[in-house]
């Protein structure tokens, strides 16, 4: 039992419990980077949960203004949802292409992801500007304030994601599939998929549940 820990490997069994664990040392940089980014994403989701909580509390406080069922257009939301879902898929294709260092499929996947993200943003921007033009801006009621801050915060994340996406394409173009570029690409893919998860919450809670209010 304890004899298995020979003098040369004593460091592998510091408490002399007879079980030798070969410590592999620090994890590879790819694991550490992605794990740190994963923790950031979770904290980002915690931040979104505060906006969700505010919306859940305030969704009925319309102050004489419009209710959710009067301003939400399900068809637009369905198009937005499909756009984000497909972009998540193409983003996955691009990250596979990056892993096997295939430039053509990487650029194609990222371009499609970018276009789908832009379509999403255009639809959302038109929805917002239409609401503001009808006098239903964020200052109209507590419901609209929480609606604009929650959906707008997600839209800002998508905008930042598209800027990051273009940066990744430029970095692969200029530097190739270096290890550090691949790590950034991995973090970007995590970010983009996490945005889609948040959007699942948005369309379910805000648009579909909100239409019933």
């Amino acid at each position: 039992m304890a004899m298995t820990a020979t003098a040369g490997r004593a460091h592998a069994d510091p408490h002399h419990i007879g079980v030798v664990i070969e410590h592999p040392g620090p994890a590879p940089k790819r694991t550490v980077t992605a794990y740190g980014f994963w923790v950031f994403l979770l904290s980002d989701i915690v931040m979104f949960s505060c906006f969700f909580a505010a919306y859940a509390v305030l969704s009925g406080q319309t102050a004489g203004g419009p209710k959710g069922s009067e301003i939400f257009e399900q068809r637009n939301v369905a198009i937005e949802t499909v756009c984000l879902l497909l972009s998540s898929f193409t983003c996955g294709m691009a990250s596979i292409a990056a892993d096997v260092r295939n430039r053509f499929w990487f650029y194609l996947g990222m371009t499609v992801t970018c276009v789908l993200g832009l379509i999403f943003l255009v639809i959302e921007f038109r929805e917002f500007s239409d609401l503001v033009a009808r006098g239903y801006g964020p200052s109209r009621s507590a419901f609209l304030s929480s609606f604009f801050s929650l959906v707008g915060c997600h839209g800002l994340h998508v905008s930042a994601g598209i800027l990051w996406l273009l940066t990744m394409m430029a970095q692969v173009f200029a530097k190739g599939f270096r290890a550090d570029v691949l790590r950034r690409m991995m973090c970007f893919a995590l970010f983009w998929h996490a945005l889609d998860i948040v959007w699942v919450g948005v369309f379910s809670v805000v648009y579909l549940l909100g239409s019933g209010v």
Binding site: P24, P28, T31, L42, A53, F89, G92, D196, V205, L209
Partner: protein
Amino acid sequence: MSDQAHTRTEHDIAPGDEEQHSVAERVIGYVVGLGLALLLTATSFFIAGTDLVWQPSIPVALIVLAIAQMGVHLVFFLHITTGPDNTNNVLALAFGLMVVFLVVGGTVWIMGHLNANMPPMDQIMKTRM
């Protein structure tokens, strides 16, 4: 120090990384995830607009479908699995989920009872006068 992009240790893999699979297997994983997510999305939109089901069940159904779809995204797109190499990722996720449920559930719970426990607004205004 240039590290290999594909080094995997025996114990941990990064969130988003998969265990060694061929390209075809990875693509199939994403296709399955996309199909499931589209199915759940379509069900959500169908249920929200239909009068075929018992109306009070719709909010619960929407929430269940949303949680299911988030699970599909986590497994097929973010590759968060229950494997032993994923323990750290799952623990971080579990902690994040706990905070999310405390924030959302606690807010809804407290604010839902706050109005009932308050005296009517006109009485407050009278006592202040």
